[in-house]
């Protein structure tokens, strides 16, 4: 789950990391009021969960109240990479002398968090990693020990940070680690961490991504979820305990199991069709879940055929068949459907569907081919 800059910085602030004085505004008038309170110059920053806000004109400096109000109005009317700007952060503008990158993420292959620092701050860190990887200093953090003092000293030395800033930098690095650890983040990033004109360190921008699997122990953070980044159907699916991702094609899929669901999408493509979605109904799917899933798939008007691929281990095929029939009765859809059921009670399940005159298939290849043909109107 991605967190907006404003919330990420507030969390950083809670852990002793210096952040600019700033406040959220949802209207130009509010922006003007806040800017006046803070004092000029201010930066008006769109709050959207994508990169490249600056290039899209979503970050602007304002030198007076009129500019603050106008900038806010312009920015609140923007859509950046498909996301509408609903709020802006009004931050006191910093006098930036030097920009540093400081971030913590998980190194999956190493199975440890890794803290990274670079003197090339304020730019896309992935590009720095690609072009000049030696400019990034990395230290792996032991999951059981946490970030050690000698590690933050190594980072400071590695980026040639002037001695007088080492203590403050260490405090920020450790604050960032504590924030990362205690929020169950998979990324906590300050880019840029600046040295100001009067020689202070300041986190001018902040970003956090949280582990979805850990949100159960952070209900306060889960409340900050911005659902604009998710398709409405994805939100609905999540609420029903389903895993759903919208794609661009016209063949809807309902499958039990993530690997099998990905495979089903792949096979549709292999036989010349385009999948409309990824949908995993999980194990032991009940009739309600199947119905909810079908509703979400059919709500997508571009769907011209639906392929069900169910391998029943714990999941009973006859119950899935009942669920499909129940859902269809309630929905009255004319979209052609192909059902492939294998495993526990598959014979009973198939019989129920054949009695209802639904197209069935034995193999995955056969099911995909039938679905592709059905979508083409054959």
């Amino acid at each position: 789950m991605n967190l907006h800059e404003v919330y990420s910085k507030r969390i950083f602030g809670d852990y002793g990391i210096p952040i600019p004085v700033g406040e959220l505004a949802k209207s130009p008038a509010q922006a003007q009021q806040i800017a006046k309170k803070i004092g000029f110059p201010v930066v008006v920053k769109s709050q959207v969960l994508v990169g490249g806000r600056g290039k899209a004109g979503g970050i602007r400096v304002a030198k007076n109240e009129k500019e603050a109000k106008q900038n806010a109005e312009d920015i609140l009317n923007l859509t950046i990479k498909g996301l509408p700007v609903r709020m802006v952060l009004i931050d006191q503008a910093a006098d930036i002398k030097t920009e540093i990158y400081l971030g913590i993420t998980n190194d999956r292959a190493a199975r440890k968090p890794v803290i990274m620092a670079s003197a090339a701050g304020g730019v896309d860190i992935e590009e720095v990693a690609r072009k000049t990887p030696d400019k990034i200093i990395k230290c792996h953090i032991d999951p059981l020990l946490g970030l050690q003092n000698y590690q933050s000293r190594d980072l400071a030395a590695g980026i040639d940070l002037p001695r007088e800033h080492w203590r403050e930098f260490a405090k920020i690095a450790h604050g960032l680690w504590e924030a990362f650890l205690e929020s169950d983040a998979t990324l906590a990033e300050i880019n840029p961490l600046v040295i100001t004109g009067d020689d202070q360190l300041l986190a001018v921008d902040g970003k956090m991504v949280l582990d979805d699997n850990a949100l159960f122990r952070h209900p306060d953070l889960e409340m900050l979820r911005d659902t604009d980044v998710d398709q409405p159907a994805e939100v609905q699916a999540r609420e029903n305990g389903l895993s759903y991702i919208k794609l661009d094609g016209d063949i809807g899929c309902m499958v039990n199991g993530a690997g099998l669901a990905m495979t089903t999408m792949d096979i549709i493509k292999l036989f010349g069709g385009e999948p409309a979605n990824f949908l995993d109904i999980g194990g032991g799917a009940s009739a309600d879940k199947v119905a909810a899933a079908l509703e979400i798939i059919l709500a997508d008007s571009s769907v011209k055929a639906v392929l069900f691929n169910i391998f029943g281990g714990i999941t009973r095929c006859d119950l899935v068949a009942k669920g499909i029939l129940e859902a269809l009765e309630a929905m009255d859809s004319k979209v052609p459907m192909v059902v492939r059921l294998v495993g526990t009670n598959a014979v009973e399940g198939r019989k129920l569907l054949q009695d209802a005159e639904m197209e069935t298939a034995d193999t995955l290849a056969e099911a995909a081919q039938k679905a592709v043909a059905a979508a083409k109107g054959k």
Partner: protein, 286 residues
């Protein structure tokens, strides 16, 4: 001979009195697995499955009373790390964690701790292990595989079942099926399992089922080219998955240009592995 589990495995079930634990224990017992104990803190002294299996308050007590040497965990995500720590601390040789949704920071801590002990963890977020005819540790249906000489290792659940079933329908049997699970940080990866299959006299051919996300398959490809001389056939799911989206499994995500299905397929092919275009093709490629 198989790997990891066989008819001599003495299994205890953590979370045995929960819905999932109870349901699957019944199936494991029916398959012939020697389930000797269950653990649910606070329910020590009870019995499950009509008086067949004793329940204990802790893994240590259960182990001392029954000699259990392996554990399967059916405990909810918020308690799973604790269950894994407990099992390792009590001296279990093998821990299989079925639970999905374990926080990644928990798993990094579990791995760090377990790496200091000689215990093998499989999972989490996995269907477990199946050695046909001998032992079922987890939720892989017992009736979709027959004993044989193909070793199967997979990140998936039902996709694995498809492959086992396809093999069975052509009379091909399995030595052991290992579900390593769909999480980004887990107990056993492809290389760990390939090493065991390479050493196992009963395994003559290997099937590897991967998916997008991470670099486990690429690293496995390098390992195969150096150390595995048994034929390997693979299938990689997620060729059509969009970047940046978590496709169900926590570990199934293409990020920053890494973890793409094409890259995995290429790496495996370069290592001499035959990669199927769809899972039903696997038996003919073997």
């Amino acid at each position: 001979m198989s790997i990891l589990v066989n008819k001599n495995t003495l299994l205890l079930v953590q979370g045995i009195t929960g819905q999932e634990g109870n349901f699957h224990t019944e199936k494991m017992v029916a398959y012939g697995t020697k389930v000797v104990a269950g653990v649910t803190p606070g329910k020590g002294g009870e019995w499950v499955l009509n008086g067949k299996i004793p329940v204990f308050d802790s893994v240590q007590i259960a182990k001392d009373a029954t000699g259990a040497n392996a554990s399967v965990i059916f405990v909810p995500a918020r308690f799973a790390a604790d269950a894994m720590f407990e099992a390792a601390d009590a001296g279990m040789e093998l821990i299989v964690c079925i639970t999905e949704g374990v926080p990644v920071s928990d798993m990094m801590r579990v791995r760090s701790f377990l790496d200091q002990k000689s215990v093998r963890l499989v999972g989490p977020n996995c269907p477990g292990l199946l050695t046909p005819g001998e032992a079922k540790v987890g939720i892989i249906p017992g009736n979709i595989a027959i004993p044989g000489n193909v070793g199967v290792v997979s990140r998936s659940g039902t996709l694995t079942y498809e492959v086992l079933y396809a093999l069975k329908n052509l009379g091909m049997g399995v030595s052991t099926c290992v579900g390593i699970g769909g999480d980004p940080v887990n107990g056993t990866d492809f290389i760990d399992t390939l090493e065991m299959f390479q050493e196992d006299p009963e395994t003559e051919r290997i099937v590897l089922i991967g998916e997008i996300g991470g670099t486990d398959e690429e690293q496995a490809a390098e390992y195969i080219s150096k150390y595995v001389d048994k034929p390997v056939v693979a299938f990689i799911a997620g060729r059509t998955a969009p970047p940046g989206k978590r496709m169900g499994h926590a570990g199934a995500i293409v990020q920053g240009g890494t973890g793409l299905a094409e890259d995995k397929i290429k790496a495996l092919q370069n290592a001499g592995v035959k990669v199927a275009e769809h899972p039903e093709q696997i038996p003919e490629l073997l």
